[in-house]
Symmetry: C2
Subunit: 105 residues, 2 copies
DNA sequence: CGTAGTTATGTCAAATATGACATAATATTA
DNA sequence: TAATATTATGTCATATTTGACATAACTACG
């Protein structure tokens, strides 16, 4: 919808800091953007931690190198589902996932 | 199934003991499905907790009553993004979200 | 230097998710 | 009971997300 497009713009270019009011983002929408951004960074960390190339992870999770790159760069075309799949495939536990969510922001 | 076969299967990356492999799901995919299911139930709980009808929540998050129903029933057409948006819109904190993730399964 | 390995970026057809709508089913309340 | 509110289910056109591909941009090492 409209809000999603706005979320996209913000995640793509506009400082992810806190432009909540800027384009009329809901509190929840802004929080989700921040959460996804944080998880994206964590995904990159954890893949490296497990000594996999983007291509290796991609194959393991049935995706492609370019999409893994997009996951890790916080590309707005990437769903939360895909980010979490990447994390779980990298061996991240629910506990670690939860920790990142608590620390987010 | 004997221990040897189990060991061989598990070494090859298969979880033995649930329906994951039967459905052709990787471990990560199965874990994601379980996570989403748990979050869906939690979403229903929390909406009720905040005394909103599905229609009220739908309006607040820019969705529709029928989609909120699908969120809460664990409909496979619902993304994790949408589930989390529903949760955050219902006033769930990151801490509570994390707690559910840890407890999942 | 070159070259092999890895990561980033753009594009696109196909797959999937979405809100909206109708309407059925089930609660709730007068 | 009936009337009303709420929730469930199915469908569909549209929007978004996807893997795949090409290729550019690094990185590391001989």
């Amino acid at each position: 919808m409209d809000a999603d497009k706005r979320m996209r713009l913000e995640a793509a270019g506009w400082a992810v800091g806190d432009a909540s009011n800027f384009l009329g983002l809901t509190e929840a929408e802004a929080e989700l953007v921040e959460l996804k951004t944080r998880l994206a960074l964590f995904a990159k960390e954890q893949r490296k931690m497990s000594n996999m190339s983007q291509d290796a992870l991609a194959k393991k999770m049935g995706s492609s190198q370019s999409r893994v790159a997009k996951i890790e760069s916080g590309d707005p075309s990437v769903s939360l589902d895909l980010i979490v799949r990447a994390l779980l495939t990298s061996g991240v536990t629910r506990q670690e996932l939860a920790q990142v969510i608590v620390d987010s922001n």
